[in-house]
Assembly symmetry: C2
Homo-oligomer: 218 residues x 2
């Protein structure tokens, strides 16, 4: 089940529950910082509880160990995947975060590259060192943009055992299935589902498009 | 007035007000993500209001433009400096954030390097590209660790017009005044003041130590 729904604003958890329980193919939810700041901790917990499967907290953490640990602490009961930037390095940062998440049965997903043009200004130029951090920290998963399938393909080759989660499908331009065909395990779709008049129909048509694409590429 | 107080947990705004109004030498407050998540938006606004001068929101933003704009929006009334990571690049990220902040009379401070060991694994190796982003985005200020004065000195030389804010004084090991002597404009101190039994006495002794150090190095 390769679809994760991204929630970027404060929505009724029951709407999400209807999607997650009703649409075959959805395997989780990703919740972003802007929504949590507006909705508060209780909403953040309720929205995560609306989906089984992956419950991904997307703060793109990028701080020292001490601060990242404090940041995730209130969410360890309700979320099971936490996104952080590989860019901040292992020692004094990601290794300590990973240790906390391991202890609490949660998973770490590291950003390996981003979907926007600015990702090529520093992040992608630094990719040999970024990949070294990934090897050192050994996270459960990686975040790589669906908008750049060649990058997904390269990461798939270098990190065969890691889950790859790809945002950028739909509003940001990548077609459903394009990241899966390049080797991703999950595609993350936000606005194309949550801003649609009929989120359920939109989610179903995305799942169908993923299946069509996968049949064609495999 | 070169001291900024870092608030990393939910404290009574009146305690901070007493510090900011009572201690000559304090010129602002920096509030972090863990505290805002626990305290909520209203507390975040009240704690900022307790200090005049710089009111710095420290989320270490590291996302695409769209998400960073949504993240800072609820804080534009109460904060006047926002910290983001230079490594996310200008296009599709920091340029758009800067534009919003300019429009709303707020300032951008870009992380140029960090205080922990992991900063040397990627961030510092990528410093030529990081500095190119800084030149392109042209922020009001830079964040550079007091624990590494040679780095502060280099940034001071390369970016003479930028404010430099240096965390890491006190609990993280740098002595008061060491970053100022290397060319920083502000030193940021958290635990050594806020976790002290007598925050006011601690702040006063740090200001005094800054003055002693500055007299010796200038």
């Amino acid at each position: 089940m390769p679809l994760i729904v991204a929630v970027d604003r404060v929505v009724d958890p029951e709407v999400l529950r209807g999607l997650c329980e009703g649409v075959n193919g959805i395997d989780g939810v990703k919740v972003g910082l802007p929504a949590v700041l507006r909705g508060g901790l209780e909403w953040a917990s309720r929205i995560a509880g609306a989906c089984s499967g992956l419950r991904v907290l997307d703060y793109k953490l990028a701080d020292v160990e001490h601060v990242m640990r404090l940041t995730v602490e209130p969410f360890l009961e309700s979320y099971n995947v936490f996104i952080a930037h590989s860019f901040v390095g292992a020692h004094g940062a990601l290794l300590g975060l990973k240790e906390l998440l391991d202890d609490r049965g949660a998973k770490l997903a590291l950003v390996a590259s981003m979907s926007h043009e600015g990702s090529m200004e520093v992040y992608d130029k630094a990719s040999p060192w970024v990949e070294e951090v990934i090897r050192r920290v050994d996270p459960w998963g990686l975040i790589a943009p669906a908008t750049r399938p060649s990058l997904v393909r390269r990461l798939r080759g270098r990190f065969p055992g890691k889950a790859i989660l790809s945002p950028g499908v739909g509003a940001q331009g990548a077609r459903p299935g394009s990241a899966l065909c390049a080797g991703a395990d999950y595609e993350i779709v936000g606005r194309a589902i949550m801003d649609s008049r009929d989120p359920r129909a939109s989610a179903e048509s995305i799942v169908e498009a993923q299946e069509v694409a996968l049949r064609a590429c495999r």
